[in-house]
Symmetry: C2
Subunit: 160 residues, 2 copies
């Protein structure tokens, strides 16, 4: 989609991601196990969000059946090297999503359906810049979730 850079195709992206993960593992003295790469591959096959349970069930079918313990372990590694992000929508369990070369975005959660929309607003960057100055901090990341409901589309105008 739109986050592909000039003619890159998916497999090239994935090859790059795999290389980054491999480099990360080497540089940090972690072993390059087949389970870890199988998980990376599966994680990067998802377009949207996924939870650990879904991932676990899918991987049970695949070539490498990994335990939940390994899933959590590997997801931690992938978050550490910035290939995956974790989200907490509402109160239920964590959701994950790949994030390499994916445009930074935030989420609108629709109350009725639980559906998740994505958006990107430059003003959030401005807010972060302001905060860095005011509090003398270095912002590492943020999480902005908007909880909303679909408007009853009765009138063509807007009624705020």
């Amino acid at each position: 989609m739109s986050y592909l850079r000039h003619g890159m195709v998916k497999d090239q992206i994935y090859a790059q991601v795999e290389g980054l993960f491999e480099a990360y593992l080497e540089q940090n003295g972690h072993r390059k196990t087949p389970e870890r790469f199988a998980i990376l591959s599966q994680v990067y096959s998802y377009e949207g969000h996924f939870d650990v349970d879904t991932l676990y069930e899918v991987m049970e079918q695949g070539e490498y059946r990994v335990s939940r313990a390994t899933l959590y372990n590997t997801l931690d590694l992938l978050m550490d090297c910035n290939l995956v992000r974790r989200h907490q929508f509402g109160d239920q369990g964590a959701q994950y999503e790949k994030c390499h070369r994916v445009k930074q975005h935030d989420h609108v959660i629709l109350a009725d359906t639980g559906e998740v929309l994505e958006f990107c607003d430059p003003r959030i960057q401005q807010i972060k810049a302001t905060l860095e100055e005011i509090f003398d901090i270095e912002v590492m990341h943020h999480s902005l979730n908007i909880y909303a409901r679909k408007r009853a589309t009765t009138n063509p105008k807007h009624e705020s």
Copy 2:
């Protein structure tokens, strides 16, 4: 503090909050039990955030010892009538905070200490307005958490 309106003092605020809760309970056919008001009182004694476990332990000492089940139940009611808000910082359990006549604000979580700073930026309102228009939704609430770390104060500039 700054959210007190023209000469109001704390007890007046609390009396008002109690009145609102009472009205809410009546209008929705809920019973006015002493436990519920004891919880409300304790909740409004906190200036910042608290978690259920802390609340439980404090209330064990007090006049009304309430069970966790009742705490969760009552916190739900308090959220329903907009006297309390729930937050999810990072991965651990939920944090709550009173919200009546408290200025809407968001949070900076410092990675090292877990300390939570509060801020209020008008641009978040603008973002919400834009989203309502773009997606034709009605925003109910939002959650913006900034994860940061204190900057190494090497430069002689201001560090407040």
